[in-house]
Amino acid sequence: MRKLTVIPERCSGCRLCELACAINAFGVNNPKKAKLRVFSLYPHPVIKKPIVCNQCGIPKCSENCPTGAIYIEDGIVKIDEKTCVSCQMCVTSCPFGAIFVHQEIAVPFKCELCGGNPKCVEVCPKKAIIYTPEHILGQSARLAGVLKYAHMKEVEYFEHGIVKKLRYADIEKDKTSGDNNDN
């Protein structure tokens, strides 16, 4: 099983993913009909984040659907248009806001991973949306943790009159021992 994951730090907010998604899903040039959304918050904190469906294993949208229209098929959360009454409970109950509505479309719509070849991933010029095996999820956080721990530093020194550089991990005392920092 693969899932969409996003790296907000990379996103430039160009919304090409939205546009490509809407064209792919509904055949119209209208980013307001995309099954994902890029949210830009500014000026503080400066962040842009594509909101994508996480294909939850225990989906709140499905739990809250009064007509049982939302079901899981091959790990993908889908909306059955015939059963759906468009009450939009799923839209408001999704913890990520990853289900969308548009006045011209009868029922709410959400990401179904484009049959295993997500368009948004293909078009993103910044590689901010990634389609990745489940077990990789969380790895960026793990990696960030390790990097934070390591705090690579650089020092310049002279050897026989030549400037040389040495890289080392500047491990913070309070992080290693868990003791209170006494400065």
């Binding site: 546009l19 209208n30 962040i47």
Partner: protein, 611 residues
């Protein structure tokens, strides 16, 4: 010829004096003939010209127009043109911004918005698809651009609204104030902010949900995908994403064309402290892109330490880095960021502001302006504190700021000796290229319809690289070609940077246009329409009293040779310039005074333009 897509064929006309909304249906003929964006703007202004009295009176109009390609699936399709009569130059003016605003206008179902009149009180225009309202903006009076947009979004409860707003400078009718959107997308030049201010229009808030009409979406997507692939495979693509236009600093400095100390010098000793490398290494925290653009020119920068710590802004790009760097002698990148932030917040153009502040510093140095007249604030090159204070004073029209706020003509009126110090054309402060070494660039500035700006033609690099043996005739021709291609992008509602910077082929745009509109059109045909628009803007300027004298670059270009750097000793020769200007007129089909001749207007199917 029937339009089958690309255009909504509707213009929203808003008369703020009468609070009257009116939707104009656009004929196929008009839409196609003037293409869109700046083309529509110029034509609509021409039609209203006789009623326009003073640029800052209610009689002036502003045309806000994306183009037929805006919002579509192709690179950088998010440009909006603002056209009007400039309060700075008194002539035709347009300026455009990127971002998302264009898409929203089109999604609301309009190809353009015309603003007329003057609202009784400070107001903002709210457009939600078909609902159009003028609302009170008293609450936002005096607020900076960023803050206004943030508060409007909060008050209206929708983060996805697109907003174009002016800052205090626009409200105070500063003649080079701009219109700002999404934090740092600016229609910066020619004083568009002051025109909004004069109309008591603080902001336009817009939300659109409609499908954009496209004749052949499959073809467009195929073309778009090819375009994205071409751009992404360019060898400089990744570097461009990292540094954007900041890459130009090193180039311009090494080439000896980077204005330094108010255009006196052309190289800056500390250029390596304000270049793309410094930005990327010490300040950059993120990228920003306009709509559907893979290039992501925008650099979000944060100052992490020192007295400007906490300053976060999108920018600078080359123009700002030069105007608030080398041109005022600042070698501290953090100070440039702060100046950029202040300009965005007050809503003033960074090019004009940096240019004029540098001129004032030199005037003070030369004793033209006294310490008293500077409100007791001694000015020196690189003195960032006083420069920040000057930006504030300009925005709030306080003391010396009130004089600078009148632009180069205002300064020259008060201190006539400053005529020799200010680099400007037609009253618009020149952007960041020194032209003493490149006559084509001088001609480009001189004959630019809005004044001293490089948007119309940018020939300097090519002339310096391969132009040594060009004849004057070839030189005039290359300027005309650029002045025809580059404005075409503003008419189509797309950005020209994929073409300028990553070598994307311009003929692709004819294909995009054909796919979108269903009217098979060649690049030559589009270029002809762009040339026609250049003649309309020329006609407007002639009607407004522009003469051949307005087509000359500034005094310094002819009289002070470059003192240092690789191009030392270069200056322009007035006689040679006059010669190339006449050649240029001739090639354009204009008479010796620069007035388009009847046969030219005939050829361009502009027989109804009577000059």
């Amino acid at each position: 010829m029937t339009i089958k897509g690309g255009y909504c064929q509707k213009i929203l006309e808003m008369d703020l004096s009468k609070n009257n909304k009116h939707v104009i249906n656009v004929s196929d003929n008009f839409a196609v003939k003037y293409v869109g964006g700046r083309g529509w703007g110029a034509r609509i202004i021409w039609e209203n010209l006789e009623h326009i009295k003073d640029p800052l009176s209610p009689s002036n109009i502003v045309v806000i127009a994306p183009g037929p390609l805006s919002g579509l699936y192709l690179p950088a399709s998010g440009k909006t043109s603002f056209s009007s009569i400039s309060p700075a130059t008194g002539l035709y003016a347009d300026s455009n911004m990127g971002g998302m605003f264009a898409v929203e206008i089109k999604q609301a179902g309009y190809d353009a918005i015309i603003i007329r009149g003057r609202a009784e009180k400070l107001s903002y225009l709210f457009i939600d698809d078909d609902c159009v309202e003028v609302r009170n903006a008293k609450k936002y009076k005096g607020l900076g651009c960023v803050e206004t947009e943030r508060q409007l979004k909060e008050d209206l409860g929708d983060e996805t609204l697109r907003i174009a707003t002016i800052g205090p400078a626009g409200e105070n009718l500063v003649k080079f104030s701009c219109i700002n959107s999404e934090w740092s997308r600016n229609a910066g030049r020619t004083g568009m902010g002051a025109i909004f201010g004069s109309k008591n229009l603080k902001a336009i808030v817009i939300r659109g949900t409609k499908d954009l009409p496209v004749f052949d979406l499959t073809r467009l997507v195929k073309l778009g995908e090819h375009a994205y692939k071409t751009l992404k495979s360019h060898r400089l693509f990744e570097f461009w994403q990292r540094q954007g236009l900041m890459t130009v600093v090193d180039y311009a400095n090494a080439a000896g064309i980077m204005p330094t100390h108010n255009f006196k010098d052309t190289c800056f000793d500390d250029a390596d402290k304000i270049n793309g490398e410094v930005m990327e290494t010490f300040y950059k925290i993120g990228d920003t892109a306009c709509y559907a653009c893979p290039m992501a020119c925008g650099n979000v920068n944060l100052v992490k330490e020192g007295k400007y710590a906490g300053t976060v802004t999108e920018g600078p790009e080359y123009e700002t880095a030069c105007m608030f760097g080398s041109n005022v002698g600042i070698n501290d990148f953090a100070a440039i960021l702060k100046a950029n932030y202040l300009c965005d917040e007050y809503g003033v153009d960074t090019i004009s502001t940096g240019n004029l502040i540098a001129a004032v510093i030199e005037a003070y140095e030369k004793g033209i302006i006294t310490l008293d007249e500077l409100d007791g604030m001694a000015l020196h090159w690189g003195d960032s504190d006083s420069i920040m204070e000057l930006i504030r004073k300009i925005g709030e029209r306080e003391g010396i700021g009130n004089v600078i706020a009148e632009g180069s003509y205002g300064l020259i009126k008060k201190w006539p000796a400053m005529k020799q110090l200010i680099s400007q054309v037609k009253g618009l402060e020149q952007s960041s290229y020194d032209v003493r070494s490149a006559i084509t660039m001088a001609l480009a500035y001189g004959t630019s319809d809005i004044g001293g700006h490089h948007a119309r033609a940018w020939t300097i690099a090519k002339e310096l690289e391969v132009g040594a043996d060009w004849t004057l005739d070839e030189k005039a021709a290359i300027v005309i070609y650029q002045q025809t291609v580059r404005p075409l992008f503003d008419m189509l509602g797309v950005c020209r940077l994929p073409w300028v910077e990553l070598g994307f082929n311009e003929s692709a745009y004819a294909e995009f246009y054909s796919a979108a509109t269903g009217i098979e059109t060649s690049l030559e045909e589009l270029l002809k329409r762009s040339e026609a628009v250049y003649n309309i803007t020329r006609a407007i300027n002639i009607k407004l009293g522009a003469t051949i004298e307005d087509d000359f670059p500034s005094w310094r270009c002819f009289n002070e040779p470059i003192k240092t750097g690789p191009l030392v000793g270069k200056k322009l020769d007035r006689e040679e310039y006059t010669k190339i200007l006449k050649l240029y007129y001739n090639k354009r089909g204009w008479d010796e005074n620069g007035v388009p001749m009847l046969k030219t207007l005939d050829r361009l199917e502009l027989t109804d333009i009577k000059i």
